[in-house]
Symmetry: C2
Subunit: 183 residues, 2 copies
């Protein structure tokens, strides 16, 4: 599965939320997530554009995600591989013992909406501000360009200016803020 | 937690099983486990005496285990850190993407018994034969020597000769059999 996702930086979520209501988009849930990012002892994920993330949800669920390099120009499509684990501390400890080192933690609150094939995330990230992510999923690499165009057109409809597109990840934005150029 | 464990190579399990019945040891369960071992891209686990294992139980449960180097001389005490995951294929795939490579698979059937503080495993390992493992757990490194002596005395009681002690891991035995000296 490939996630086709475009992220926009916004000052606040009010207008987007109004638009989603107008369209009768379905509110799915509010989540609070803490993401712990690791770098590899073998290669620098900032250079290879990969990521290893341990995500903890508000209900305590822990998910480990490997993200491959971004594909395409506008969006931030990547291949993702996920597994849930039953214990946060042991998950972090095993990664540390294997030589991975923690580079940053991202704490975010998100309201998640569904509209047709799209998922819309209204994100507030501690220390970074407000963002909107518009996402859809495709099975095949060949469908990514078409899906990206659909995501962008849906973004237009929500009143999201293409000038607000933020291609950097939250991790990259956080590392820049912290004055670290490379994780 | 530290696992204090002594392993014996046996021709078959009949005598031990009889002894366990005499002692009224409690039969806990029969399990079938497949262990997939990985080596690190950073350091050679055969040299550092560490291990990274993905174990799949007969019921489909998946557990990832990091094992630290063996401590002590007779037994094969190690620190272990475990997490269960919800998906075998994705667990193996994430490890591969992170640069770990599979070195061997060990398939074993075990009957597990409990007697006082001891757990006894009657193991049949595909390609390697029959073994008995006697195990107890301690909270503190300072208790390992005492616990090892207790395990050995309980082994005597079961009729397990100290000459049959096998300090090598199943992984090491399998790699020797395969003609690989270092995983």
């Amino acid at each position: 599965m490939f996630e086709v996702e475009v992220k926009y930086r916004v000052t606040d979520h009010t207008n987007i939320r109004d638009k989603l209501r107008e369209l009768n988009a379905k509110f799915l849930e509010h989540t609070e997530e803490t993401d712990v990012y690791f770098n590899s002892p073998v290669r620098d994920f900032a250079k290879t554009d990969e990521a290893l993330r341990v995500r903890v949800y508000g209900d305590g669920t822990v998910v480990v995600t490997y993200k491959g390099p971004r594909i395409g120009n506008v969006g931030k499509t990547r291949e993702e591989i996920n597994v849930a684990t039953n214990d946060l501390d042991n998950t972090l400890e095993i990664l540390k013992r294997l030589g991975f080192r923690e580079v940053a933690r991202i704490v975010k609150r998100r309201d998640i909406y569904n509209y047709e094939n799209f998922t819309v995330y209204l994100d507030t990230v501690e220390g970074l501000g407000n963002f909107v992510e518009v996402e859809t999923m495709v099975n095949d690499k060949g469908l990514i360009d078409k899906a990206t165009e659909e995501v962008l057109r849906f973004g237009d409809k929500l009143g999201l200016s293409r000038d607000w597109i933020e291609r950097r990840t939250y991790l990259e934005l956080m590392l820049e803020k912290l004055g670290v150029n490379k994780p």
